[in-house]
Assembly symmetry: C2
Homo-oligomer: 460 residues x 2
Amino acid sequence: MTKRILLAAVAALALPLPALAQGAAHDPAALRDAALKDDFAWEITEGLTTEIGQRLAATEAETRARAWAVKKLTALGFRNVRIETFRMPLWVRGAETAEVVGPSAQKLVLAALGNSGSTGPKGVEADIAFFPTLADLQAAPAEAVKGRIVYIGNTMTPTQDGSQYGYFGGARRAGPNLAASKGAVAVLIRSIGTDHHRNPHTGVTNWAKDVKPIAAAALSLPDADQLERLLRRGPVRLRLLVTPEFKGEAESGNVIAEVPGSDPSAGIIVVGGHLDSWDLGTGAIDDAAGVAITTAAAKRIMDAGQPKRTIRVVWFGAEEVGGFGGAAYAKAHANERHVLAQESDFGADRVWKFEVNLPEGAKPIANRLATVLAPLGISRGRGTAHGGTDVGPIINTGVGVIDLSQSGLRYFDYHHTPDDTLDKIDPEQLRQNVAAWTAMLAVTANAPEDIGPIAKGGGE
Amino acid sequence: MTKRILLAAVAALALPLPALAQGAAHDPAALRDAALKDDFAWEITEGLTTEIGQRLAATEAETRARAWAVKKLTALGFRNVRIETFRMPLWVRGAETAEVVGPSAQKLVLAALGNSGSTGPKGVEADIAFFPTLADLQAAPAEAVKGRIVYIGNTMTPTQDGSQYGYFGGARRAGPNLAASKGAVAVLIRSIGTDHHRNPHTGVTNWAKDVKPIAAAALSLPDADQLERLLRRGPVRLRLLVTPEFKGEAESGNVIAEVPGSDPSAGIIVVGGHLDSWDLGTGAIDDAAGVAITTAAAKRIMDAGQPKRTIRVVWFGAEEVGGFGGAAYAKAHANERHVLAQESDFGADRVWKFEVNLPEGAKPIANRLATVLAPLGISRGRGTAHGGTDVGPIINTGVGVIDLSQSGLRYFDYHHTPDDTLDKIDPEQLRQNVAAWTAMLAVTANAPEDIGPIAKGGGE
């Protein structure tokens, strides 16, 4: 059940913003160039990661983060700033240690995967069953797995479009369930990442309804290398202690802010990122940067004058642990006319391409985007925009989407690790993002074309 | 008291190595070029870091490492392979957590410094007293420190010669003692490092006899940045738990192996590195690489034929925690004629310069070194060689030294952190090191000049 908390700022709901001449005020190229000197995005990223730190979904820290967000969005001058809460299952990390037993006795560095089961306080000790890939585990008979600690190798490399995450991430998302179903006592995976530091990459794993969760954790990449070197020498026995807990239902929420448009019939453009983070780092690239970039861009449009369409900024809650915020938003706002929805959730490195999924009549928008984004080093990609976890549910109702794709070459070095901290954000690249989003909003929020539902998605 | 354990290999003490014609066999340029394809150094580095892992001085793991070393050095064909043990104080890490208290509640990542005292099992909670540098702490009145957790900032940057370590390392070596003497309840320092990862840099701190050790730990660099951002916003209160223990005296040891020379009167050349490591990583760059490089070079000389001078390879124990191995070696071998002593203890990146400290009659050696090292991209530096912790005590008795200086631009990214692992070694640069050491040994072990004691140091 979604409950809306309406804050003082909502009183401003019906007040119009300063009505400037739109043509001049929203010149996309001028706004884009001004945004290359943006400070709002840095202030938001720095503030949220410093003053709150980690923001695991449904914890007290995420609650503090929502209060921080409301204060910041109100101070920036947005209208209709509010929190929309929802309930969800809470999972929290416990102890996590692993040590090789025997003549090469040594500790390994690991982190439990989100939704991991527990070994219990005494831990488990067992031999490793090694599978280089998820497919090898799939092909293995149960007797090769039963009673063992399964280890899945699976080496991802950096790509600009981050596309390897979908494939290699399978070992994390599906590997533990598969191992448990074959009788493993626990699962370790090589972190789904591309770095060479001793910081493991967490992330959710999924369990089938009839499978009892077992302990599931990721080894840092150097520790995965180390384990594989030991396995090449002979059998390896491991002592493992992983004690996270499921704590039942708890409250999370989305934070919403608006730049009201002059033409309510023209529909709403949703932009945003997610407010929650994993618990290991301070969630700078994932996803303080995303809320910061999209908020800064909306702020720049707002300050230049009222747009035609309403821009709604959403700081989604509980993305990491299962996309609860995006689902709650789509459910709560199913009856509104959304025309576009897009998120920033891939760090803060330079945008290098854009792709669209627009209804027939709105297709000229893409050409105008190409012109205004080109000076930022951004060209049109060969594919179709698909949005992401947070806007997925609303896009699925037939809403158009534009992807501003950031470089993924560094992203999986830090993703879901203790290393996702402010120092990984390059202020110059962050500004390029704000400029791209500002230009995109200047074009789309004022586009004369009707941006109707897209046929493919189904419509409202 | 130093006790010698003579192993089976010692039976070979008096047997000569195959007597080849030295002139052709030890052509420095030919040996240098062959060493550019060396595999010995990689095998040693990979084996020691994989099969043993961390090797904290005087622990069971360091004992296992000595056994590993004897086996490896014997298998490589060295003569007089033996362990020389000594006793020393043992310090071991306990729990270590820190959390900011209050509205920005969050955990910080830290590691106790070697020789740190304990907060006790209940920890301490206190306000932070911030000092940007050690000099600021020095200048502060005791009332600004008493009852507080002192934090020392102090930002080091990468340099090719690593020279900033001497200056900035002062905050680690002397800061805790100074803070304790002014009444601090605990001390945190910004890690003495140059990276941007959440892996703290440990290392020893020193206490005056009349000062009771307090808890002393290093924050990872992103956590130090975070703490400083919070301190800029106002007072910060911290809860700290650091519980290492001093465990009394325990056994450590040096591992020694030789390439016996044909002319005992020409003196001994000592080369080596240290076998022990900090407990957080697997001690790949610090200092598996050092023992590997020097051993591989000595092996290449040995395999080419008997040199004039004896080359003695020493894998020193207990360097990190106070240079106990180097001191024990100098004491045990004070009556032997050492003519040169040099160590490799600065990682495995390329050697870029060399410097010497040679007695008057041996100075032409430096010119021959310049010629043979130039093709490796190594030129003579402007300074005088000074050796390092392990060979310092023997050098101080009037022994000559040659420094083959590696690039330090990456070294302090990993130094004393969990991140000091095998993947930080570039095999190509490792081979360049072996080539440089091989060429140096080919020149010095067969130099016709007498390499007498150097006047400055005092002599035996």
